[in-house]
């Protein structure tokens, strides 16, 4: 295999007002023809800057100060800008993370692809059209001849990412740089896009530089892997070596912080990496990871480690493996690193889900909840239809338990959460909290109830008011609900004592319980990292002593290691305070780790629900099966069979007749197209709605009546 891209000692500096930031600090890598090279790392490690440096598309403040980037023997850094224009799009192409932002909304798809063709090939009008059609067919756009004249907003997210790939492929590049190409997409769509990339690579033999933070995606795609940390590569290996035996302490921690069923079974908390990625503006003496490394010793802080070859092609930058350092390392350290077994038996016993809590009263029961948004048209804003965001959802949450609500984006998960909290008035159905009906409760009485159920949001950056201090943010809820006087389970478990506490002391105690120092309360949100902000958001929710917290994708905006911290914290709080969670997420591995029960949602309805084991081991509904199979897994030996799911989620304004899932279902039958299936019961907790299984007569009759009533 011939080498296509060779990066040597590349150094990129960003000149910020605060001083230079060494975003990329001497990285060296090589990509061969037909190979996928995956660059893994947390955010802020300089992955994207590496990609932009290769393209020479750095922001104004960026500057490449050293090294070389050779594409087929030509050093790109020495090329004049005009020569780069013939290289970009022709020999190297790039796909960006956000398909919604990387397409021009006022140009048709054909025009945008045509732009690339016009730049790099001398084609006639007819030939260009033919080529565009051909490319769109390649990336699997159905009905390409008609859709090529449409605008980006007429396509779904997955389709847009296909368009981006089509544009990138138009120049038939030798190297494709994909910067987090699937991060913004659902798992089912992600599986489609990754599959597409693989197919195209096999056919054209192009090299791919894939940048991701998701170990699962890396395991799916990679031939070679490089782990990037704080501007430099700390480990490189081929796929098998890396996923069977990661050696750098950072890589190991990344694996250990992945949530999953195995971890939950063992009752282990997730491994966390202390602290954050160091700011790249600082001077490093020693190993960059030393401060967060459990196995660091004196040498790590003093001297930067060099490359050590562990096995053929598997290199690591760590003193643990260098021959000279081995002698110096305190005895037993290597072994500790090798086994990486947490010694926290005390935590273990606490975290084993306590069974005595299971059979308690139902805390919240939702039945046939519907949230419709009217579609208004015309001058008089007449209602012409409804977006059925939530269309008859029933669920129950028990005290101290976690119910996970899973589904693709746009299926109405978040709306269910907001409907339960009465932030969006439900159109029909009932929400009962401890037997009290919340729907259409008077505003004053509802306000008094609000302390009982709280909300944690996805984006820690927009969920805290940037103009308020932390203490004001946390006290806001207390003031609004006067929660101070409530006789309730306290934060530290000593309820009555808590009630006595002054407000200031309570804020301190809350911050402490989420692992932040009390001094933090005088600062403003922008001074904290994403994970810390999420902790503050949790503290704010806890301030009013809720019984139920609705977590709306609380970790999806966070890095894996930070996600582990937050999940540990949530579990810990649940065990201490007996909180119930409604965990809204699309991340199956998080579900495996935190959930007791799972409800799978599709287009505003719950298609399957059951205990976490029922669903994950023994999924019955074809949608659940497809969803689970689309999740990339890290374990290299379990080559799962991906159940391909074609197409996208239909519009909730105009759901398909019959079973909502039938247009995408591989087992579709005639009856599926005609009416919505009734309930099939497998055991006391596990139910689904699918014609593949015998319908439960009594329940389905009821369901039929319900469906009739809706129609």
């Amino acid at each position: 295999m011939s080498t296509i891209l060779q990066i040597n000692n590349l150094e990129t500096v960003l000149h910020t007002p605060a001083g230079p930031v060494w975003a990329v600090d001497g990285i060296t890598l090589e990509i061969s023809k037909g190979e996928t090279f995956v660059l893994i790392g947390e955010s802020g490690c300089g992955k994207s800057m590496t990609a932009l440096s290769v393209m020479r598309l750095l922001p104004e403040v960026g500057e490449i100060v050293g090294g070389s980037v050779r594409l087929g023997g030509v050093d790109l850094l020495l090329q004049p800008e005009i020569a780069m224009r013939t290289i970009r799009g022709k020999r190297i192409s790039m796909i960006f993370q956000e398909p919604m932002l990387s397409l021009n909304p006022v140009m048709t798809v054909a025009a945008q692809i045509g732009e690339v063709l016009k730049r790099h090939f001398n084609l006639g009008v007819a030939a260009t059209q033919k080529r565009i059609l051909e490319i769109l067919n390649q990336v699997g756009i159905p009905d390409a001849a008609r859709r090529m004249e449409e605008y980006p907003f007429q396509f779904s997210g997955g389709m847009k990412q296909r368009m981006m790939i089509a544009m990138a492929l138009a120049g038939e590049p030798e190297l494709l740089i994909a910067d987090e190409p699937t991060t913004a997409l659902d798992v089912t769509i992600q599986a489609q896009v990754l599959d597409l990339l693989r197919t195209l690579q096999q056919r054209d033999g192009m090299a791919i530089l894939l940048i991701t933070h998701d170990l699962g995606v890396a395991a799916e795609m990679a031939h070679k892997v490089a782990v990037m940390y704080a501007g430099e590569i700390v480990e490189t290996a081929n796929r098998a070596q890396f996923f069977q035996n990661p050696v750098h302490p950072y890589s190991r921690k990344l694996f250990a912080s992945l949530p999953g069923k195995a971890r939950r079974r063992q009752g282990l908390p997730l491994a966390v990496i202390r602290g954050n990625v160091p700011p790249l503006s600082s001077e490093f003496t020693g190993c960059r990871f030393a401060k967060r490394c459990d196995q660091a010793w004196g040498l790590c802080h003093d001297a930067a480690p060099g490359w050590v070859e562990v096995s053929a092609g598997h290199k690591v930058r760590c003193h643990l493996f260098s021959e000279s350092a081995k002698l110096e390392a305190p005895a037993g350290w290597l072994e500790k690193g090798a086994t990486d077994a947490p010694q926290e038996s005390s935590t273990k016993s606490r975290l084993l889900s306590p069974n005595h809590l299971i059979h308690e009263a139902c805390l919240l029961s939702v039945s046939a909840l519907k949230v419709y948004f009217p579609i208004r048209k015309g001058l008089m804003k007449r209602v012409t239809g409804y977006v059925k965001a939530v269309d008859g959802v029933s669920l129950a949450i028990y005290r101290g338990k976690t119910l996970a609500l899973v589904g693709e984006s746009g299926c109405g998960k978040t709306t269910v959460g907001k409907g339960i909290l009465q932030l969006i008035p439900p159109s029909a159905g009932s929400v009962q909290y401890k037997g009290i009906e919340l729907v259409r409760l008077e505003r004053d009485r509802l306000r008094k109830m609000r302390a009982e159920f709280q909300l944690i949001f996805q984006d820690p950056y927009s969920s805290l008011n940037p103009r308020m201090r932390i203490v004001d943010i946390i006290e806001e809820g207390m003031n609004a609900l006067a929660a101070g006087q409530k006789e309730d389970v306290g934060i530290a478990g000593d309820g009555p004592a808590m009630a006595e506490m002054t407000k200031a002391a309570r804020v301190d105690a809350l911050l402490e319980s989420v692992g932040l120092p009390p001094e933090a309360k005088w600062r403003y949100p922008h001074e904290f990292s994403g994970g810390q902000r999420q902790r503050i958001a949790i503290a704010r929710a806890l301030a009013v002593n809720p019984k139920l917290i609705i977590c709306d994708e609380p970790t999806s905006a966070l890095d894996v290691s930070v996600q582990a911290q937050i999940l540990n914290l949530l579990k810990n709080l649940q065990n201490r305070l007996g909180l119930a969670y409604l965990f809204i997420t699309h991340n199956i591995s998080v579900v495996e780790y935190v959930a007791d029960e799972v409800a799978v949602m599709y287009l505003g309805r719950i298609v399957e629900r059951g205990s976490v084991d029922d669903i994950l081991e023994n999924a019955r509904h074809p949608y659940t099966q497809a969803l689970l199979s689309a999740v990339p897994v890290v374990e290299p030996e379990s080559r799962r069979h991906v159940m391909p799911l074609h197409g996208d989620l239909p519009s909730p304004a105009n759901p398909p007749r019959g079973c909502h899932f039938h247009p995408r279902c591989p087992h579709v039958m005639q009856v599926c197209r005609e009416s919505y299936p009734g309930i099939s019961i497998f055991n006391s907790t596990h139910t689904t709605r699918c014609y593949l299984y015998p319908q439960d007569a009594s329940a389905s009759g009821e369901a039929q009546a319900e469906v009739q009533a809706q129609a």
């Binding site: 040597n8 000149h15 910020t16 007002p17 104004e60 403040v61 500057e63 490449i64 100060v65 050293g66 090294g67 070389s68 050093d75 850094l77 020495l78 907001k418 909290l421 932030l423 509802l446 306000r447 008094k448 609000r450 159920f453 709280q454 909300l455 949001f457 996805q458 984006d459 927009s462 969920s463 805290l464 008011n465 940037p466 103009r467 308020m468 943010i473 806001e476 809820g477 609004a480 609900l481 403003y524 958001a537 704010r540 929710a541 009013v544």
Partner: protein, 495 residues
């Protein structure tokens, strides 16, 4: 008591505004996050120089705001109540009494010793001659204006400028002492830092602006006692005095109008964006309708109605000044009513965006009341827009006043403003030889005021607008690269 303080309507509002500004400054001072963008303003050289000039204008305006009625000699002797003059004066009038009272017959050019129009003068021997008579006050101290005037002007202006420089020297030394005390280093050290331009606040630029201002104003003050430095107008009034009086009118229009429009814009804009639904519909219809009526027409109609009302009810006003002042206030009001739509639209858009933010949702989940959400969450997050648009609007309003007065629907003709000055000068532009000085004076003052306000607004905007901040970082980096001289690009050809 030899005078009686008078607080006109606009005076009261100006005092209120000043008090409000002080409270705001105190509040900002206590909150670090609010102080940060203001620090950025303080670090901008052009902004701070502009502010120095603005301070001159504002002090003139403030002097002109403190009104009183002087006591007059009463024929009846000390027994009755003291009678006060019907003329309302301001502190500025008092300071500039020589300028105000020394009225010539008619036009005279700047620095002239003779009138601009020929008159028939009766000679002592009974004959009559048509000539340019000497002015009563301008250059009256000269024996032979033709030969002495030039030298006299230069001498006096040099003396005035020197006086200005001395004051500047004192100001600089006291600045040095103040800065030195802050650092604990001593004033020489602080001053050298100022002149190397190495201080964070661009004191050097401020000092240079201050020096220029003091030089000019020193010279002007020294001369204006002996000459009409900007000439005189049709009725012989000193144009320099008029220009100084015009400053207050401009400032009042620029600031009070904003004060009038802010409640509309804030309340309606945020209400529309936050509550959506029918409230939004009504407010949108309201401002769309309002902004589609030609502004001048609306203002003209309102001002004329007001004028008629005032003329039919002369008993409501005890002085002419009170009447003119009320008309000014009314002009501010009507300008405010017609100009809130722009800001309102901006605020509605911002509130629409903010209401979907998750911290607002979180506040809803806590059962926080709408009023509290608006005041604690939305208002602080739109304040930067309010601030930027207020400062940007200021100069536009000063210019709008000039245009309206020119059209004849502006301030009361008895009130001196740049607009009335330009209006009065316009007829004389056609005259041969031309009377150009009134227009020039109005132009110069207004230009200086609006330019400095615009430069300051620019500095404020770039400090508060996050998008522009990024740009300035970039240009800063570019500058650094250039000043670094050698390109740091060292692409190596090594393997």
């Amino acid at each position: 008591m030899s005078f009686k303080p008078v607080i006109l309507w606009t005076d009261a509002l100006v005092y209120l505004l000043v008090a409000g500004l002080f409270v705001f400054a105190w509040y900002v001072w206590r909150n670090e996050h609010l102080l940060v963008p203001w620090r950025r303003v303080a670090h901008s050289a052009s902004g701070m120089s502009a502010l120095t000039v603005l301070v001159f204008f504002i002090s003139v305006g403030m002097l002109d705001t403190m009104h009183f009625r002087p006591a007059i000699e009463n024929g009846g002797g000390g027994m009755g109540e003291t009678a006060y003059s019907v003329e309302v004066l301001s502190l500025l009038d008092l300071v500039a009494a020589p300028l105000r009272t020394r009225v010539e017959k008619t036009y005279s050019a700047p620095f002239a010793a003779h009138l601009y129009a020929k008159e028939t003068v009766e000679l002592p021997d009974g004959g009559q001659v048509r000539e340019f008579p000497r002015l009563k006050y301008g250059g009256a101290h000269l024996q032979d204006p033709e030969t002495e005037r030039m030298a006299d002007v230069i001498r006096r202006s040099a003396a005035g400028a020197a006086m200005g420089l001395v004051i500047w020297g004192f100001a600089i030394v006291s600045l040095g002492i103040l800065l030195g005390r802050g650092d604990g280093k001593g004033w020489r050290c602080a001053l050298s830092a100022v002149f190397c331009g190495s201080t964070a606040v661009p004191w050097r630029a401020i000092c240079i602006t201050l020096a220029l201002m003091l030089l000019f104003s020193g010279a002007a003050l020294a001369l204006c006692g002996y000459y009409h430095i900007f000439g005189t107008d049709k009725v012989g009034q000193d144009v320099f005095y008029q220009s100084l009086k015009g400053v207050r009118t401009g400032l009042v229009i620029g600031t009070l109008t904003t004060l009038m429009m802010l409640p509309f814009a804030l309340l309606l804009g945020i209400t529309a964006g936050y509550f959506r639904g029918w409230a939004d519909d009504i407010i949108q219809y309201l401002y769309t309708t309002l902004s589609s009526i030609p502004g001048v027409l609306l203002i003209a109609a309102a001002v004329l109605m007001m004028q008629v009302y005032m003329e039919t009810h002369p008993e409501l006003f005890d002085t002419i000044a009170a009447r003119a002042d009320l008309r000014l206030l009314f002009l501010c009001l009507i300008l405010g009513v017609t100009s809130w739509t722009g800001l309102c639209r901006l605020l509605r858009g911002e509130a629409l965006k903010l209401r979907e933010m998750e911290y607002i949702q979180a506040a809803h989940a806590f059962g926080v009341s709408h009023w509290r959400i608006i005041t604690r969450h939305i208002l602080p997050n739109v304040m930067h827009i309010v601030l930027i648009s207020t400062v940007m609007d200021f100069s536009g309003l000063v210019l709008a006043e000039a245009v309206l007065s020119y059209v004849g629907v502006g301030v009361d003709p008895s009130m001196i403003s740049f607009g009335t000055m330009i209006n009065a000068a316009r007829l004389e532009m056609a005259r041969e030889p031309m009377v150009w000085w009134a227009l020039l004076a109005a132009f110069t003052f207004m230009f200086a005021l609006v330019l400095s306000a615009n430069l300051f607004a620019d500095a404020v905007q770039s400090a508060f607008d996050p998008r522009i901040r990024i740009l300035s970082i970039k240009t800063g980096a570019l500058r650094r690269k250039k000043s670094g001289g050698e390109p740091a690009r060292t692409y190596s050809e090594t393997p």
